[in-house]
């Protein structure tokens, strides 16, 4: 978050509140699709449900994005890319886990190559259950995330900093090497 430009005029607590209030209204979503859930994003983005009315737009690069949607099952190969993308995003950043697969494995509960719980590897702010969640559910999830941001409860990026060693240890238990 940015520093307070007028510490003598605006109290630090209010400054954070103002920032949260403003940042919840301009969430830029990284355009990163995994699994089948990305299929529900076009109707959510386009005229029928139109998520842009909440200030959420898709963005092509991780450095300009605040929001990462993991839209479906996560293979080990994909997880490596997800972690890369997540670490490139700038603070504050939020993760939405979308569909039943990143929650407990879903259909792929006994698969040898998909991770079962995403929150063991990166922190997750909101879960949207369902296989697949309809655009209404996605919009509801976005609104809940905005409320959480406003109240300061969406603190996944802070938890990632705090428990970085644990998250990295879990990641390295499924990756054999990091540099490929």
């Amino acid at each position: 978050m940015n520093e307070n430009p007028f510490p003598s005029i605006i109290p630090e607590k209010d400054w954070k509140k103002i920032q949260r209030m403003l940042s919840k209204r301009s969430l830029w979503m990284i355009h990163f699709c995994t699994g089948c859930g990305a299929m529900e994003m076009p109707p959510t983005m386009t005229s029928r449900y139109d998520m842009e009315r909440f200030g959420i737009i898709p963005m092509a690069t991780p450095r300009q994005a605040d929001l990462l949607l993991v839209t479906g099952y996560v293979a080990v190969k994909t997880l490596k890319r997800i972690v890369r993308v997540y670490e490139q995003m700038q603070d504050p950043k939020y993760v939405i886990s979308f569909g039943s697969c990143p929650i407990n494995g879903g259909l792929y509960w006994d698969s040898y190559n998909t991770i079962k719980r995403l929150d063991k590897y990166i922190p997750v702010d909101i879960y949207i259950a369902g296989c697949m969640p309809r655009p209404e559910a996605i919009m509801d999830g976005f609104l809940k995330l905005m409320k959480d941001i406003d109240e300061g409860r969406a603190d996944g990026w802070l938890r990632y900093r705090k428990y970085y060693d644990k998250y990295r240890a879990n990641q390295m238990r499924v990756f054999r090497r990091w540099d490929e």
Binding site: V76, K77, K80, N104, G105, W109, D110, S111, Y112, N113, I115, K116, R117, D119, K120, P123, R159, Y163, K166, Y167, N170, R173, V174, F175, R176, R177, E180
Partner: protein, 164 residues
């Protein structure tokens, strides 16, 4: 040239296969592993210019892998499945990528998923799996549920929470 004429010319036994909803003729042929290359060349010269797929079946009770070379002819609209058997404990066959270049990728996949070694193919590097360190996962004796529970179930949650 029709597939049946080719079979008679090559003097191999074939069986006709029937599939619900698809009237196109399709034939299954079990061939000798040494003669497979000549037979594929013969088919390729006579209209079967489309190599559709190479697949593998694990016959664990017989101790064999079945490799199925799937050819198609646009002239006669016929499918031909040429299958060979190789021993399961020493799965080896020679690469046929000089006949159809796309065979290279199929061989790579089968090498990764079944552990079949194709001599002469120098690109048998990992294709889909990443950081894999167990036996090839599509073999019948690979217990995917046990593997998933051991590998992913043993990872602890970061901030408390319930175990799986």
């Amino acid at each position: 040239m029709k597939a049946e004429e080719l079979f008679k010319e090559l003097n191999v036994e074939y069986e006709m296969m029937k599939v619900k909803g698809n009237e196109d003729p399709r034939y299954r042929v079990k061939v000798n592993a040494d003669k497979l290359e000549d037979i594929i060349v013969k088919f390729k010269e006579n209209g079967f210019r489309h190599f559709v797929a190479l697949s593998c079946v694990d016959w664990i009770k017989d101790g064999k892998f079945e490799l199925i070379y799937h050819l198609f002819s646009y002239e006669t609209l016929e499918d031909v499945f040429l299958s060979i058997y190789i021993p399961r404990d020493e799965p080896k066959y020679r690469s046929l990528r000089h006949l159809f270049p796309q065979i290279e990728t199929y061989e790579r996949e089968i090498h990764e998923m079944f552990g079949v070694d194709f001599e002469g193919n120098d690109r048998l590097i990992p294709l889909i799996l990443e950081d894999w360190n167990d036996m090839p996962p599509m073999r019948k004796d690979f217990d995917t549920e046990k593997y998933a529970k051991e590998k992913y179930g043993s990872i602890p949650p970061v901030e408390g929470g319930d175990e799986e």
